[in-house]
Symmetry: C2
Subunit: 416 residues, 2 copies
C-alpha cells in the first residue's frame, strides 16, 4: 500500500506535467506531443528527478499507447489501407533498408566492429507509430492517403524491424544465422497481421450486420476493449509490438455499427492514459552521459542521419502520392520514439552498446520524436488538401456530439 | 519490455474475468461486483493461478477505485452530506466502536494476548466504501438519504480506523501511547477533510459561475482528473485512504457547470479500470490456508461477527432514517473489502498475525464484500422509495445522452 501511494504521487506528477507541457507547446505553436515529451525529460531522473521510470509506470504507459493505436485503428478501414498497400509496402521496406545500411556504415566508421555496428543500426530502423499517429489524429487527417500509407508502413516496418533484431542479435555471439527459423518467424508475423486484419474485419463486417450487442449489460466498449487488450498481447506473442495488435483491434472495431460511439467513449481513456506514454518516453533520456563535446557531436550526426535516411526511404516509397504527399510520408516515418529506446536498452543489457552509445541512441530517438511532429504538422496544415484543419490541443475532450452512423471522410477531429 | 508484455496478458485476463464474472452474477441475479470478486478468486493464485497480484496490477487497481469514488463524489453534493451529518457521524462512530469491542473480545477468546487481539479487531473496523458505492451507483440510488449517510460515515470511519490502527500498532511493541501525537494526527485528518470538502466546494461554486474552462485545449476532464489524482495522493499524506481524497475531488467537481458531461466521460474510465480493483480484491484470498475444519469454523464466526457488529453500529447510528433506512445503512457498511485485506497484510508483516489468522481475516473481508451487496440490492429494490430502479449490469456504457444542466434528484443510472 505504501509503495502504491508513493507511485500515486508520480502518477499525479506525470499527468500534470503532460498537461503543462502540452499547453506550453501550444503557446509556442508546437504539437502537444512535443511538450509532453519535453515535460517528461524535465520531471525525469535527468533534471528534476520527480519521476523514475518503474514497472507500474511502464505498464500504464504501455496501456496508454495501446489505447492510442486502438483509437487510430477505429478511424481506419482495412479497405482504405489496402488501397495504398503498394506504397505502404515500399515505404516500409525502403524505410528499413536505407537507415539500416547507412546506420551500419556510420556506426562502423566511429569504432565498433561489424556485428556491433549492425546492432546499432537496428536502432535507426525503428519507427514509433504512436507519435506520428497522435499528430495525425490531432490534426484530423487520419483519412488522408499519406496517413494510411504511414500506418500501413508502420505495420510492415515493425515486422521487418523484428526480423532484423533477430538477425543482429544472432550475429553478436558470432552465432550462426538460421535462415529457416527466421523465415518461420517472418511467416508467423505476416500470418498474424493478415489473419487478424483481413479475416477479422471481414468476419466483423458480416457479424455486425445481424449482431446487436447485448446492450443493457455487456457494453460494446467492454467487448472491444477486451479484444484490444487480447490482440495487443497476442501480437507480442508473434514478436510484434503490442500496438500493432491494438491497431488491428481498432480496425476490426471500426466495422461495427457502434464505431462512432466507441470513438467518443475512447477519448476520456486517451486523456487519462496516453500522457504516461509520452512523459515516460521523455523521462528516459540521460542528459549526464551527453555532457561532452564528443557525445554531442555523435548525437548530432546520428540524429541528422536518422532523420534523413528515414525521410529518403519514406519519400522514395511514397512517390506515387506526388512529391508533397511523399514528403509528408517521409517526415511521418521519422520519429523513433520508444522503439529506439527499447532497442538501445537491449543493446546495453547485451553488452553491445557502451554507456555513451546507449545515451546517444536514446537521445537520438527522442530528438527525432521532437523534431518530426512540428515539421509534419506544418506540412499538413500548409498542404491545403484537407478542409477543416483545426489548430487544436491534443487533449480536448468536451466534444460529446451524438454518434452518427455515417462515416465522414474528412471531419475535424478534436484532439483525441 | 518483456515483463511488461507478460503483464499485458494478466491485464487481459483480469479484464475478461471481470466481464464474465459480472455476466454470470447477473444471470443468477446478484450484483456484478460479486461476480467480479469471485472471478478474481478463480483466476488468482488460489485456484487457476493465471493472475498474481503485483505492483503494476495494484497500481491499476488503486487508480480504478480512486476513479470509482471520484465518480461517486461527482454525484454527491456537499450540501446533501451536511444535511445527514448527524446520522453519518453516529454511524461512523458506532460502526467503529461496536465491531472493535466485539472483535477484541472474540480474538482474545481464541488465543492471542490483548495487544494482538486489538490488532485483529482493527480489521473488523474497516469499511470498504468502494464496494457499497458501486452497488449504490449501479442501482441509481446515490441521491437517497441512506446513500449519503453511508458515504459520509465512510469518511468518518476511515479517519477513526486510521487512528485506531495507529493506537494498536503502538501497543504491539509494548510501546507508550502518545496521546498528544495521536490528537495531532486526528486534527490533521479532520482538517484535511473539512478544508478540502467544505472550502473546496465553496470556492469551486464561486469560481464555476464566472470561470469558463479553456475549452478548446485543456479539457475540463483533464483538469478534474488532475485534481482527483492530486487529492487522492494528498489524502494518503494525511494518513487517509486515497479514495477519500478522490471522493472529495468528485464532490468539488460536482459543483462545476460541466458535472453532467464529466459523469458521462468518467464512465469509460470506470469500464476499463474498476475491474482491476474488484478482481484483484478477489485474487487475494488464500484458499489453501482455509482448508481445515478449524479455519472454516474461525472464518464462519469471524464473518458473522463482522456482519452483525457493523450492522448493529450502522443501524443504531441511522435510526433517524426509520427502521428500514437504518437497516439499509447497516448493510451498506458491512463490506470490509480491500481495507480488511490491507490491515491483515500489515498484521502479517508485523508478525502479529499467524498465517491462519491472516487467511481468515482476508477471507472474512471478502465474504462480507460478497454477502453484503446482494442483501443491499434486494433491500433497496424492494424498498419502493425510489422510482426508476433499473436491474442493470455494472458495466453498461452505451448511454451517451447529451449532458443536461439540471440535476435530477432521482434518475436511473446505467451501471457505470
Amino acid at each position: 500500500m505504501d509503495h502504491t501511494t508513493a507511485i500515486l504521487l508520480e502518477v499525479f506528477i506525470i499527468f500534470v506535467a503532460a498537461q503543462v507541457g502540452g499547453q506550453v507547446a501550444r503557446l509556442v505553436r508546437l504539437p502537444n506531443v512535443v511538450g509532453e515529451i519535453v515535460a517528461g525529460c524535465m520531471v525525469g531522473p535527468s533534471v528534476l528527478g520527480w519521476v523514475t521510470p518503474s514497472e507500474p509506470l511502464e505498464v500504464l504507459s504501455e496501456i496508454g499507447v495501446v489505447l492510442l493505436l486502438f483509437s487510430v485503428g477505429l478511424e481506419t478501414r482495412v479497405e482504405d489501407l489496402k488501397r495504398v498497400g503498394g506504397s505502404a509496402f515500399a515505404v516500409g521496406v525502403l524505410g528499413v533498408l536505407i537507415p539500416f545500411v547507412c546506420g551500419t556504415l556510420w556506426a562502423h566508421s566511429i569504432g565498433p566492429d561489424w556485428p556491433r555496428s549492425l546492432f546499432i543500426a537496428a536502432a535507426f530502423v525503428a519507427t514509433s507509430a504512436g507519435i506520428t499517429a497522435r499528430v495525425l489524429k490531432q490534426l484530423g487527417v487520419l483519412q488522408r492517403a499519406e496517413s494510411r500509407v504511414i500506418l500501413g508502413a508502420a505495420v510492415i516496418d515493425d515486422i521487418l524491424a523484428m526480423l532484423l533484431l533477430g538477425v543482429v542479435t544472432a550475429l553478436q555471439a558470432g552465432g550462426q544465422l538460421r535462415v529457416g527459423s527466421l523465415l518461420i518467424v517472418l511467416a508467423e508475423a505476416i500470418g498474424f497481421v493478415l489473419v487478424i486484419g483481413w479475416l477479422g474485419t471481414r468476419v466483423m463486417r458480416r457479424v455486425a450486420a445481424w449482431l446487436d450487442w447485448p446492450s443493457d449489460s455487456l457494453s460494446p466498449l467492454a467487448l472491444v476493449l477486451a479484444m484490444c487488450l487480447g490482440l495487443a498481447w497476442l501480437a507480442t506473442n508473434f514478436g510484434l509490438a503490442a500496438i500493432i495488435g491494438a491497431f488491428l483491434a481498432g480496425m476490426i472495431a471500426s466495422e461495427t455499427r457502434q464505431h462512432a460511439q466507441l470513438e467518443v467513449q475512447t477519448r476520456p481513456l486517451l486523456v487519462l492514459l496516453t500522457p504516461f506514454f509520452f512523459v515516460l518516453t521523455g523521462a528516459k533520456v540521460e542528459l549526464r552521459e551527453l555532457a561532452s563535446g564528443e557525445s554531442l557531436w555523435l548525437l548530432s550526426v546520428a540524429t541528422v542521419l536518422a532523420l534523413l535516411t528515414k525521410l529518403a526511404g519514406g519519400w522514395l516509397g511514397a512517390l506515387k502520392l506526388g512529391a508533397r504527399g511523399a514528403l509528408n510520408v517521409g517526415v511521418g516515418m521519422m520519429p523513433r520514439g520508444e522503439v529506439g529506446v527499447v532497442i538501445a536498452a537491449l543493446g546495453l543489457s547485451a553488452g553491445v552498446f557502451s554507456n555513451q552509445i546507449y545515451a546517444v541512441i536514446v537521445a537520438m530517438s527522442l530528438l527525432t520524436s521532437i523534431v518530426a511532429p512540428p515539421i509534419l504538422a506544418g506540412l499538413l496544415k500548409s498542404g491545403g488538401e484537407t478542409e477543416h484543419l483545426r489548430d487544436d490541443g491534443g487533449i480536448a475532450c468536451e466534444d460529446e456530439r451524438p454518434a452518427t452512423e455515417s462515416r465522414p471522410g474528412k471531419r475535424p477531429r478534436h484532439g483525441f
